[in-house]
């Protein structure tokens, strides 16, 4: 398990020896050994539930390992809680930031290290230090800005500054790019490179292989609680890493044939959404999707994708027109709710499966009827639901979608992210929709499941269903959609046929740089 990565004889900055940890019957970490050199960027990849976060939580003192030892800079340290970890120079940037929203950057940075009755000395001290750090690592943030006014990328910088202010020499980042735009992610990687040049040691946890390839020096792969390999990044490739993660060969891109497209199935004209604060989130958006076609909606998160999905799914009101096979269906007021949309044959796989798509405290079989619970197949008579039959239907669909474990009598919160997403997909696809609206279908889903989900979406397209795919992952847009429209600032800023465009062209559109022609996108491009 140990590798040839260790060239020099100096003690590694971090050394883990034989770390094991179990939660009840689940062994989250099995005899993990790891060495990370000072000043290097080390990536840890693995599917959801592979034990990455557990391992880092042990290093940061959230959990105590059942056995094993931790050495920092050659010194054995018994990390009993986070204070010990911070003392030892370990800083952690969590996936979900731990910042006080209505405090300023400065106040957040000093939180917990005030060291005196009055906070002013600490604030002044921090202000000086922060400007030093900012210039050294290009970590510029306005120290007097309120956190709630900062973009996500800047909030993350504050988290990093917090760790550096506490004199961290080791920085652990847990899925840091999940919430960032591509540009913000690039900037983060520059920061990380600067940090490592200055001798900081960085551990990057991610499931995105691209990031591993672009920024890390060494990489470890975890699978089912074990560390299956540690490699030099320059001597490996995404395909090899993916196979190590999943334990079998995987298709990083699903095969897709060209199909005959049919008539326009979903037509949207002049769709506008104004949110509760009076901000216009979508402005006069128009597009159509034909039968047997996937229209991808690309764009950086927060440019109106959520509002588009919610308007078409019947969750929030909108103005404009929406037609299914030529029949207009309301977007506002009576008959515009999600139930009516489903009755018109619109299925919706939402962006956020845990907040919208599923009731986590319901059984899997109860979730299979969710949203369709008025349909005859789930009911015994006018009053009572047919739980037995619903369980049967759930059992069939779970087998069909390879959902594990395949037991309908299991609470949905006990399934992994990928299997939860498959439950949503099984429910929506098995209703044989005319139109499928799908948002971020593979967010937080492991590689094996991504392949499966993509295949299911393409199968549905081949059956002649019109599919609107909203995704912030360009890879996903490229591998699935037939046409791409780019959302920027609530408007469709350009539209391309997938095969006739490339990432850099779409990247420009995503950044808001419009077509040279300056006219509205051509709608009939695939007629």
């Amino acid at each position: 398990m140990d590798t040839k990565v260790q060239h020099d004889s100096a003690a590694p900055m971090i050394e883990l020896r034989g770390i094991s940890k179990s939660f009840g019957p689940v062994q989250a970490n099995k005899n993990i050994n790891l060495k990370v050199n000072k000043g290097s960027i080390h990536g840890i990849v693995g599917e959801n539930g592979a034990g990455k976060s557990t391992l880092m939580s042990i290093l940061y003192g959230f959990y105590k390992s059942d056995s094993g030892e931790i050495y920092i800079n050659g010194k054995h340290i018994n990390i009993t809680d986070s204070h010990v970890a911070i003392e030892a120079g370990i800083g952690m940037v969590h996936q979900h930031f731990k910042l006080v929203e209505n405090f300023t950057v400065l106040e957040n940075v000093i939180l917990g290290t005030e060291n005196s009755f009055l906070i002013n000395p600490a604030l002044n001290n921090a202000r000086v230090l922060l400007s030093d750090l900012a210039s050294t690592y290009s970590l510029e943030v306005n120290p007097d800005a309120l956190i709630e006014d900062l973009s996500v990328g800047h909030q993350q910088r504050v988290e990093i500054l917090k760790a550096l202010y506490r004199q961290a020499d080791i920085l652990i980042l847990d899925e840091p790019t999940g919430v960032l735009t591509p540009a913000e992610a690039d900037h983060l990687f520059n920061i990380l490179r600067n940090l490592s040049k200055e001798g900081k040691t960085i551990i990057l946890i991610t499931h995105k292989l691209k990031e591993i390839m672009s920024v890390t020096d060494t990489v470890s792969v975890m699978r089912r609680g074990e560390m299956t390999a540690t490699l030099e990044t320059s001597k490996t490739n995404p395909q090899e890493l993916a196979e190590l993660m999943v334990g079998r060969s995987v298709l990083l891109r699903v095969e897709k044939d060209t199909t005959e497209v049919g008539d326009k199935s979903l037509e949207v004209h002049d769709l506008s959404v104004t949110d509760k604060r009076g901000v216009t989130a979508l402005k006069n958006v128009s597009f159509h999707v034909r039968k047997g076609e996937i229209l991808g909606i690309a764009g950086v998160a927060g440019n109106g994708q959520t509002e588009l999905l919610e308007a078409l799914g019947g969750i929030s009101p909108a103005t404009g027109t929406m037609k299914i096979d030529g029949e207009e269906i309301p977007l506002l007021g009576k008959g515009s709710d999600a139930r009516s949309k489903r009755e018109y044959g619109v299925s919706h796989v939402p962006e956020d499966r845990q907040k919208l798509g599923l009731i986590l405290d319901f059984f899997a079989w109860e979730n299979i009827a969710f949203g369709y619970h008025h349909k005859d197949e789930f009911n015994r008579n006018w009053l009572l639901m047919d739980n037995g039959k619903t369980r049967e239907i759930a059992r069939e669909e779970m087998a069909k979608f390879d959902i594990r474990p395949p037991t309908p009598n299991n609470l949905v919160k006990n399934f992994s992210g990928g299997n939860q997403q498959k439950i949503v997909l099984a429910r929506e696809l098995e209703q044989h929709p005319k139109v499928l609206i799908v948002g971020q279908p593979t967010r937080g889903v492991d590689i094996g499941a991504i392949e499966f989900i993509h295949q299911k979406i393409i199968d549905l397209r081949n059956k002649g269903v019109a599919i609107l795919l909203v995704s912030v992952e360009l890879d996903e847009i490229f591998s699935l959609s037939d046409r791409v429209a780019v959302l920027f600032d609530g408007k469709i800023i350009g539209e391309r046929i997938t095969e006739e465009t490339n990432e850099s062209e779409l990247g420009l559109l995503m950044a808001g740089i419009e077509d040279g022609s300056g006219e509205q996108p051509v709608m009939e491009s695939v007629a």
């Binding site: 949203g371 009053l383 639901m385």
Partner: protein, 365 residues
């Protein structure tokens, strides 16, 4: 900790809670110089040891079943209905109006009409807070508490100025018409040739309460509306995604809740007092909250918890009588301890028990 065995979750933890509550109550009894085991014996004997005691225990339990179910139903939609007290009071008005002004030929006709009237009045009293919550976002806890006070003041006004017969001193209504008097346990046992003491107020409403438990179970776990209510309770955003209308769920769950609370008056007003008194509810609305908490919002759990509180009420009254050193206030302290341990301090026991079971599981594997 999420996968505790069901019997631990539903039986062991409530029993440990109860044990702790009794232990501390026992210490209180020791402190005032009495024997806690004798006190315990008096409570049990007094409430369950005789048909007489049982008649009282189950009479109280009937009240708590209705108010407990009321809280439980609303809680499935995550509506915390604290207004059971007021809704039961107003339900009592509905019962009284039916039983005062119509000359019923037989109780079998008066019974269903009074049930509907009581439920309707109780539901109407919960409808206003429900509407305010659904349309305006006014917090249901605040509004239902306020409505308890409004209900109380309204009842005082009505009983003093409107319903009180002329020349009577006490602020209470006239006696109900004879045709509206419900059969007591004494009468019912009599039909089958069996004996039951005459004085306990237990009446046919107890059977109605048992039926209500079953119907509410059916409603929550077997109907589409119950499904929608539970879904809404777990996640409002997901419910909207599924096309479930929050307005409808809040209204329906609160109306059913208010209706159940109102039906409590069938037991206390129509079945026992046979007139409308100014304090016909006597805190049962609040005990219902404890019963729902302890019963985990499940009708069977509510039933068992309601019987337990019935035991405490009746046994407490006996204890007060048998042990003069134990005052009325002491009894309230004991009841409060049970509520505290079974409701508010539930996690006190749950967390360590969860840890113990995690350890046991690990060892087995």
């Amino acid at each position: 900790m999420k996968n505790l065995p069901k019997w631990v979750d539903l039986a062991l933890i409530p029993l440990i809670n109860l044990f702790l509550a009794f232990m501390i109550s026992g210490l209180v009894v020791v402190y005032i110089g009495e024997n806690p085991f004798r006190a315990m014996q008096i409570i049990i004997n007094g409430s369950l040891g005789s048909a007489y005691g049982l008649g009282y225990t189950l009479y109280y339990a009937t009240n708590f079943i209705f108010t407990g179910l009321a809280v439980a139903v609303a809680f499935h939609a995550r509506m915390f209905n604290i207004g059971g007290e007021g809704q039961a009071m107003v339900g009592g008005l509905g019962t009284a109006l039916v039983c005062l002004f119509i000359d019923w030929p037989h109780w079998t006709i008066a019974f269903p009409v009074a049930i509907m009237s009581a439920a309707l009045f109780g539901a109407a009293w919960s409808a206003i807070p429900a509407y305010l919550q659904a349309k305006r976002g006014s917090h249901i806890v605040i509004t239902t508490i306020m409505f308890n006070f409004i209900a109380y003041s309204m009842m005082v006004y009505l009983l003093v100025h409107v319903l009180k017969p002329k020349g009577q001193m006490a602020p209470e209504s006239a006696k109900f018409v004879a045709g509206s008097n419900l059969p007591s346990a004494h009468d019912i046992f009599g039909w089958f040739g069996m004996a039951f003491p005459k004085s306990p107020p237990l009446n046919i409403t107890f059977l109605l309460a048992v039926l209500a438990c079953f119907l509410i179970w059916l409603f929550i776990w077997r109907t589409r509306m119950g499904y929608a209510i539970r879904a809404f309770g777990w996640s409002e955003t997901a419910a909207v995604y599924a096309g479930i209308s929050p307005f409808k769920i809040i209204m329906v769950s609160m109306l059913v809740s208010g209706g159940l609370a109102g039906m409590m008056s069938i037991n206390s007003v129509m079945g026992e007092a046979e007139r409308l008194l100014i304090d016909s509810v006597q805190g049962a609305g609040f005990v219902g909250i404890a019963a729902a908490l302890m019963g985990r919002s499940h009708p069977l759990g509510v039933f068992l918890a309601a019987v337990l509180f019935g035991v405490l009420y009746q046994g407490g009254a006996e204890l007060e009588f048998e042990m003069p050193a134990v005052s009325r206030e002491m009894i309230v302290v004991i009841q409060a301890l049970v509520i505290l341990f079974t409701g508010a301090l539930e996690n006190l026991v749950r967390v360590p028990i969860g840890k113990i079971f995690m350890k046991l599981n690990t060892k087995q594997n």
